[in-house]
Amino acid sequence: MDRRNFLKSSLSVGALAASGGLAAPAIAQGAAKTLKFVPQANLANFDPIWGTQYVVRNASVLVWDTLYGVDSKLEPQRQMVEGEEVSSDGLTWTFKLRSGLKFHDGEPVLAKDVVASLKRWCPRDPMGQMIKAIEKELVAVDDKTVKWVLSKPFPKMKFALGKNNTPIAFIMPERIAKTDPFKQITEYVGSGPMKFAQKEWVPGAKAVFEKFADYQPRSETADWLAGGKVILLDRIEWVIMPDPATASAALQGGEVDWWETPIPDLIPILKRNRNIKVDIADPLGNVGSFRLNHMHPPFNNVKARRAVQMALNQEDYMRAVVGSDDSLWQLLPSFFTPGTPYYTDVGGDILKGPRNLEAAKKLLAESGYSGQPVTCLVAQDQAPLKAMGEVTADLLKKLGMTVDFVATDWGTVGQRRASKSPPGQGGWGMFHTWHAGADCATPAAYNALRGNGDSAWFGWPNSPNTEKEITSWFEAKNAEEEKAAMGRINKAAMDDVIYIPTGFYKGFQAWRSNVSGVVGGPIPFFWNVKKA
């Protein structure tokens, strides 16, 4: 018994008399297999198709299941699907569901649920949109069989249906999946390993998940979203803590069991505590991004973009973002995630080696830059972005550029970056963001790498070469072709400076030592996690 419990027991005699002994259930509840988890952000909504924030996805993998799921090698493996058949021309996919799958309301999972779910997912997902564009028919053949007929082969089908990038192709009951994909669902019934306790949900404070007794895990060993999702806990409580110091203290005090995203400043304190384990949260880490506006001067000129690319020192950015721990970051002469099977740095030489400020200045002068201000949108409420923004302001000044430093919040950056107006009229010149490494492993779900002009991600780069090579990746028939295509994509995107990677960095996660089974990954995986 710790001092607080002793004090509680001693002092609560009178209080118990007054409250009718209501303290007892809370103590008993603590003894149940309840894991308290501090997520990266508030679970403000719970529709993984309508709202595609990572925190929503992370909660959703507990409640909703998928036809396929990627493993730690990013290979899609069967999950709800028992098997699939692809016609010899690659145009017809037939999926057979596993037996015994049930939704949390007790209803069986049927093919019509899958069809409705995929129809809702397609318009919201880049790969889904590609499939939709070549779809001839998506139908339930019988209760267990779904047929998807295409007009053109789509070799990445299994990956699309099993990827971990938002939005994931979750399977919902038909009545829920029929909701407009741009409107939020109000009922949270899935067939995943845990049920969502909607009545206990206090957005901004708490979300509760309870073990689904009828869940049928696969027999294979769990590996990220693949394999048997065996739940060894009765209940998982997500406790929202916006303040890192509070989360750190709560973890040290044993009030919570697992903290998803401790900030680098607090890691030394946590590492000194023998009751706490600290490890890399996600081996796929994050890619820092210097996003330029390709529509307006000065960065509508590729020479100006290359001047910044040439002068940018990734080490400055990474030290500003993650501090002095060199194990947490690495230089990244690529748009893709290091350590993944198809990683390539072909064409990334401009980001390697010593920086050449004088050559960069010369290139900037050749671009015709005449001193117009570069509007830098810098979100002050996101620590990595604030840090990167300060390094950028310094870099641009050293290059001789005029900096219009707009210190604001992420919500405002989010709105203003959508403006295509010139920087002086509500538009912008550059902003920083980051991309989850899991999203950057291949071009599959990598919106930020697209170079399709007006339809591209913010900054609207127009790079026909990059687009051509992305198409060739999607059409690749084997791993070698994919790898070669990725090299060409990297080179084309570097040449046209779609954006500038500011480095690759990882973060930590921390948990109490009585918790076991925590694995690193882009999502906190709760299956096989035990609490002693």
Binding site: D2, R3, R4, L7, S12, A15, A18, S19, G21, L22, A23, P25, A26, N42, A44, N45, W50, G51, T52, Q53, P126, T166, D180, F182, K183, Q184, V202, P203, G204, A205, K206, V239, I240, M241, P242, D243, A245, T246, A247, A249, A250, Q252, G253, E255, T408, D409, G411, T412, G414, Q415, R416, A418, H435, D439, A445, N447, A448, S455, W457, F458
Partner: protein, 313 residues
């Protein structure tokens, strides 16, 4: 008196109307877009636009304001853009923790501040007076979050007397409720104690110079009845005023305190809503806080009549 109360309540209506217009306009012109937050970082501009349309954010200002006002008049504060829950339900979920924190802070502040203010006035110029005033300067100067962190470190992490964070409803046990609120109430109360103690001292000093106090002393009345029966009652009007005005401090402080101690109250709901640009929630909370503030001022005005029979409305 009843006429006065009725008039004040009626006067609340235009005040709330002006607040509503002000809040709605401010949010309309403020930068930020909830659709961007909902859509996520990977969304295309087209996705964001479709969400904006589905939320009705593309409609003209007057149309949106008119619809919102009409709903308010029918007691409907709208629905959160993010959670899909009615704003009244969200506020209802968060009301108890904030009310608990504010009531406990208020009680703690009055119980501590008034006696030390009286003591400081009685012992004016002594080390006690200087000590109380030194504490008041400290209370004003040190931000709530710093006091909060220090308290959490000492009493929760080191001594393990209280939990670091969270809130337990009163229905789950008085002690569980109390232990979660002790540290936040002290942290939030510091500035309030400082304010009330200073005003109490100043007001008491003035009253203690009055002839009737000298008369009371001359006729042999003890210090305690002089201080607490005769002087304090006459010094109470400014103290009550500052307690009322200080409610704004308390509301503002609750926002910070709830974040530091992870209390799921209205303060955190406000911050979350602002960061996400959840307009209906922001509007609902600001209206609620404005109403509470107007109500507290009405109560303060009524308390004047109890303290000073010369005041009549």
């Amino acid at each position: 008196m009843l006429g006065f109360i009725a008039r004040r309540i009626v006067a609340t209506i235009p005040v709330m109307g002006i607040v509503a217009l002000f809040v709605f306009s401010l949010l309309y012109i403020a930068p930020g877009d909830p659709a961007v937050v909902i859509a996520g970082d990977q969304a295309t501009p087209q996705d964001v636009e479709r969400i904006r349309v589905s939320l009705g954010l593309d409609r003209p200002f007057l149309e949106r304001f008119g619809e919102w006002s009409w709903r308010i008049l029918h007691g409907d504060l709208g629905t959160s853009m993010f959670t899909g829950m009615p704003v009244t339900q969200l506020i209802g979920q968060r009301l108890e923790p904030t009310l608990s924190l504010m009531v406990l802070t208020l009680i703690l502040s009055i119980v501590v501040a008034v006696p030390i203010g009286v003591l400081a006035a009685w012992k004016a110029g002594s080390w006690i007076d200087r000590g109380v005033m030194g504490f008041a300067v400290f209370g004003f100067s040190v931000p709530v979050f710093v006091v909060g962190y220090v308290l959490a470190y000492v009493f929760a992490l080191e001594l393990e007397w209280f939990p670091v964070q969270g809130y337990t409803p009163l229905s789950e046990g008085l002690w569980l409720w109390f232990e979660n609120l002790v540290l936040p109430a002290i942290a939030l109360g510091c500035v309030y104690i400082a304010l009330i103690a200073r005003i109490t001292r100043a007001s008491m000093l003035e009253v203690l110079q009055q002839d009737y106090i000298r008369t009371a002393r001359a006729k042999g009345l003890g210090q305690r009845p002089i201080l607490f029966l005769h002087a304090l009652k006459n010094a109470a009007v400014p103290i009550v005023t500052v307690i009322g005005i200080g409610m704004a401090l308390l509301i503002g402080g609750a926002v910070v305190t709830e974040s530091v101690f992870a209390i799921p109250g209205l303060g955190r709901l406000t911050i979350d809503a602002i960061l996400r640009r959840d307009y209906p929630v922001i509007q609902g909370i600001v209206l609620l806080f404005s109403f509470v503030y107007v109500l507290v001022n009405l109560i303060v005005d009524l308390v004047y009549t109890l303290l000073d029979p010369r005041i009549r409305y």
